[in-house]
Symmetry: C2
């Protein structure tokens, strides 16, 4: 019997302008293609769902183009604060970190929290203390410095505004959350999400990314989901878990559940989400102008897209 | 037509020993009675749901007997860290704070976040900066010092253990999360939860209390819910939102939804939850030994309880 596997990725959603150079567009599509190809290969080679989502999100975190890890945006103090979460659909094991500043790959720390602590969500200095005790490699906060992000922050800082990575006119310099959801050849699901948050965010604001059920969720019986966009709307709607509930209790298929959610539940122009189900289907849906995304799998499908 | 209102409160759940003096038992029942009487009166007098849950939880926060505000437990560094959340069932407005150390009434700050910021969840020093800018009164961390909590922390500290307020043998000195859910005479629902977390907790651990959908949720179309117990299990199960989903998509009545949840979904000996629905029913359910709780309403019912 053919082994079924499936993967979907996103690199953020928002008001992504189409008025962009071919070179920039191709750069993003190439990065998405590269990361999707990598993840698809891991699954084909028999890597577990939980390994795959972590490794794929690590790639996003190491890429300057996306708002996570290396490419993260600056908060109001000109610093980087990172959030990430991971969830294993087999038993709903999960881990997450928020407001960490010196961790190169926050999603790997989230997995460490999942596997080596009785807790789910660790915050700030406490999370970094945990990381240190568990032998995680630290980077200086300056590792995350990129010219583009800095210029973008300078633009917003004095106005007191916040911005998602790619709101109005900031295309090219900013790109939201990143995430990956997969079904592996053993039938297991997993989801992971990682972000640098909103440019110029204040007050230790925590978004949906590290919140299990909001930005990230996985359960083998239904689906694995990762969200991106204006975090507060995904928190208010308990977005990722709502997809699970629609499938489990209303018996709505994956793509329909996502479409219903972005059309009727999520506030307009908020963002989008990606998902896979236990049958190996993938789906994405968004109500913003665009979403960096891709999907592939054992059925030979391979696609990367930015707009409709 | 008679105006229907309904309120339920909790002061924590866990392995509450029955081997306790009549004096101690009466002290808790008297505190619960007092707080419930106060909240019931507010509703009868026409206060809104959102006002009532805040004011009732303020009373809990100011009472030394419960693990929230004044009575909060110590973390591993011998300090107090407080979390709270509030949600308005009319439009799902919500606000929450986590890891604040100098705020007398965290649930009031959570409401300020809901009403005066575009965000939902603010953390630590950032949350306190927001509080300061909005004129909130601060207390010194020493305000929260109580002999009982300190002794309890000393007991656990060297063992490296964490404890919910009333795990094994700690009855009398410790009492978990507090919460309140109501339906007001205008038909609106609201929920609020506040906590000092787990004694001797480390690493900036965040539990379910400030997580919308996990420890706290309200939606006029279904129910308002507040949870208490081992936070991680309520996060993994997205507990409060699961009750909403069971009611909305499976059409299961309130009490049945809670009972199904604590019997079949929530891990054994984890804790419990309280809820009211849009018809004015109240419900509680728990799978721990006990839960400090009470319920009252326009139908003349008034009850406070600790065990079954």
């Amino acid at each position: 019997m053919k082994k079924i596997y499936s993967i979907a990725i996103h690199g953020g959603a928002g008001a992504i302008s189409k008025n962009v150079s071919v070179r920039d567009k191709d750069m993003y599509l190439a990065a998405l293609t590269d990361i999707l190809f990598y993840g698809n290969g891991l699954l084909r080679d028999g890597r577990s769902a939980i390994d795959t989502v972590e490794l794929v999100v690590n790639r996003f975190e190491d890429c300057e183009l996306f708002n996570a890890g290396k490419g993260a945006v600056f908060n109001s103090e000109g610093k980087i604060e990172l959030d990430a979460a991971v969830m294993d659909g087999r038993d709903r094991s999960c881990g997450a970190v928020t407001c960490v500043t010196r961790i190169k790959n926050p999603v790997t720390l989230a997995r460490m929290v999942m596997e080596s602590s009785p807790h789910i969500l660790l915050c700030g200095k406490g999370a970094e203390q945990f990381a240190k005790e568990h032998g995680m490699k630290f980077v200086r906060n300056s590792y995350f410095f990129t010219r583009k992000r800095y210029d973008q922050w300078l633009m917003l800082k004095d106005r007191g505004n916040t911005a998602l990575d790619h709101s109005s006119g900031l295309m090219n310099s900013t790109k939201g959350t990143v995430g990956c959801v997969v079904k592996d050849i053993y039938g297991d699901l997993a989801a992971a999400t990682s972000t640098g948050g909103m440019t110029n965010k204040k007050y230790g604001r925590i978004g949906d990314t590290p919140i299990i059920g909001a930005g990230t969720f996985a359960d083998n019986s239904t689906c694995a989901v990762s969200c991106t966009g204006t975090g507060e709307e995904f928190m208010r709607t308990v977005a990722a878990y709502e997809i699970h509930a629609l499938m489990k209790y209303k018996k709505i298929p994956l793509q329909q559940a996502l479409d219903h959610f972005t059309a009727n539940i999520l506030k307009a122009d908020t963002g989008g989400l990606i998902a896979v189900d236990s049958k190996g289907n993938h789906a994405y849906s968004f109500n913003s102008k665009g979403m960096y995304r891709g999907a592939a799998g054992s059925y030979g499908f391979f696609e990367v897209k930015i707009w409709e």
